[in-house]
Point group: C2
Chain length 340, copies 2
């Protein structure tokens, strides 16, 4: 049986989840005639405590060792600098890369895009983790002209708002989320809306314009830091719930992206997404309204998308290409969500 040589970059929550899931799914790879084998796991500190199933002997700080004789690179280290250098280096060598890194995709797209167009870049895990959205947007939904999309794309914010609904203030709710490991090291990435903005940028390039600008989305992003308990109770009294929503809508002949807290009627499809759940509401001219909801973060939830991408790659599917060209902006009145 042939060996599939996988270089893994990063062994944090998602990276170690991937090591475990890869092992559990060994039979699936064998059914395709391949024995998966990690060539090495690139980490910053090999001595950091990790789950027992992560093979210590493979941990290394030596990039050269990880990249030697490899068939595919799985990037789960995060960040845009070092991860960007490594991913671009691998792609430049013609290696396929599977990544969950939305920051990298959003912010360094100009360098990545040519490789994505060649089909080398797989990134289902980057938005809503293992809940399918990248594949549908780069596939079946292309039979539509996109009219608008709205998403709850950040589970941590959802959790914080949920705890504020339970009566905590913002600071308390955030501290709790931090203690539980539900937010990034830099909590501003979550509560400042940056993570949702990264993800919206990735979706926009699949749905409406292959060159959608990160800076534009960034400039239209407002987080939940200013939210008060009082606002949340007032919304509740009106039968509404506050959620951080990322939207892409036609506006005056242009596509307009935004990330901001909005008040949703409690029976709005997006309002159903509670706790760590994410949701995407897509409207297309042919299909009408599609709602996809599920987990959007976490070790196994995210790793499942990486394994899914890996299996697809082995079955001969190219990665996720952006749209070949921008979609005309429709003459369409989008749903207006009430800003909170």
């Amino acid at each position: 049986m042939e060996t599939l040589r996988i270089a893994l970059l990063g062994a944090g929550t998602v990276g170690s989840g991937f090591v475990k899931l890869l092992d559990e799914h060994r039979g699936r790879f064998r059914a395709l005639g391949l024995e998966p084998a990690l060539t090495g796991i690139l980490v910053r500190d090999p001595r950091k405590p990790r789950p027992g199933w992560v093979p210590e002997g493979l941990l290394t700080t030596d990039v050269g060792r990880v990249f030697e004789e490899v068939d595919v690179v799985v990037e789960l280290m995060g960040g845009t600098e070092r991860a960007g250098r490594l991913v671009l280096d691998a792609l430049g060598q013609g290696l396929p890369v599977i990544t969950a890194n939305k920051a990298l995709l959003a912010e360094r797209w100009e360098e990545l895009k040519p490789h994505a167009m060649e089909g080398l870049l797989y990134y289902e895990a980057s938005v809503m983790a293992g809940t399918p959205v990248i594949e549908p947007l780069s596939g079946v939904l292309r039979g539509n002209r996109t009219l608008e999309l709205h998403g709850i794309l950040n589970g941590s914010t959802n959790y914080v708002i949920g705890r504020m609904e339970d009566g905590l203030g913002f600071a308390e709710a955030l501290a709790e989320a931090q203690a539980k490991g539900f937010v990034e090291e830099d909590p501003f990435l979550d509560v400042g809306g940056i993570d949702a903005a990264h993800k919206l940028t990735v979706l926009a390039r699949l749905a409406v314009d292959p060159d959608f600008s990160w800076e534009e989305v960034r400039a239209a992003t407002r987080g939940i830091q200013e939210l008060t308990r009082e606002q949340i109770f007032e919304a509740e009294a009106e039968g509404k719930r506050i959620r951080l929503v990322a939207s892409l809508v036609p506006n005056g002949g242009r596509w307009k992206a935004s990330v901001r807290p909005v008040k949703l009627l409690a029976d709005h499809p997006l309002a159903q997404a509670a706790q760590a759940r994410n949701a995407l509401l897509y409207r297309g001219d042919a299909v009408g309204e599609v709602l996809i909801s599920g987990g959007g973060a976490g070790s196994a939830v995210t790793a499942s998308a990486v394994v899914g991408d890996l299996l697809r790659m082995l079955e001969g599917y190219p990665g996720h290409p952006p749209l070949p060209e921008p979609v005309p902006v429709p003459d369409y009145e989008p749903e207006i969500l009430e800003e909170a």
Copy 2:
């Protein structure tokens, strides 16, 4: 610019919707360097009245003419006999086939499967129309071991039940659905649960076993013909809604499929699917619970999936392969839905 020669089989609701959408999306094909052209449209009766955009000059009863010099076959005629002969003939010649025909997929799988494994068969449109389920199940969700799935896969039944909730009896509600063209010519296909059973069979082969038996699903199918208004009102009094649900669950070390009316609590994720909307609730060991809902029938809704498949094919994606081998049946207690 190269021409993409498409043979279309059938010009009913979905077929004529495809002709229209193909024309509207001409720019997308040109962006890929291809000019789409129908070589012919196979129909039973060329003189039947059809929408104005269906080019009369292409309508023919001559199979030979349609199949002469063609790059891809789009089968939207339905049925298992003639459609089966034509589809298998095309596949046998090595031609890719895009189809929305769940009856054909369910009932003649033994003949179709080898071609599906070669990547020649695209069938996103066959289940839940343009709402993405085939692609997710044959892609990202394969990073899971499937635990169970439950779906509302037939919109006509949903409509009939909805009208019964409004106070009509079964016969009246069905007559109204027939008058509106919401049910198949043979209404038993819808209200007898056969259509939902066909779709469940297609899903089961993607999610748990490539050889899942149609006969087994057929034998475990019960429709809504016996439902009374009284049952519906009783369910409502208990805060429940009756829906025709297709389920696939582990049961005593085997996968058990069934289609039957069940009582769902009004806040159950599947109960939200009203009118013609369909929904799929998927549970996987890694991703947890995923819900996908949207339109499941109709001209443009279905045609959008056909155009999506066509674009994917042109971008080099193989069709939708079944699982390479059966998934072990998990030791897992599935959700028990209360039969109505």
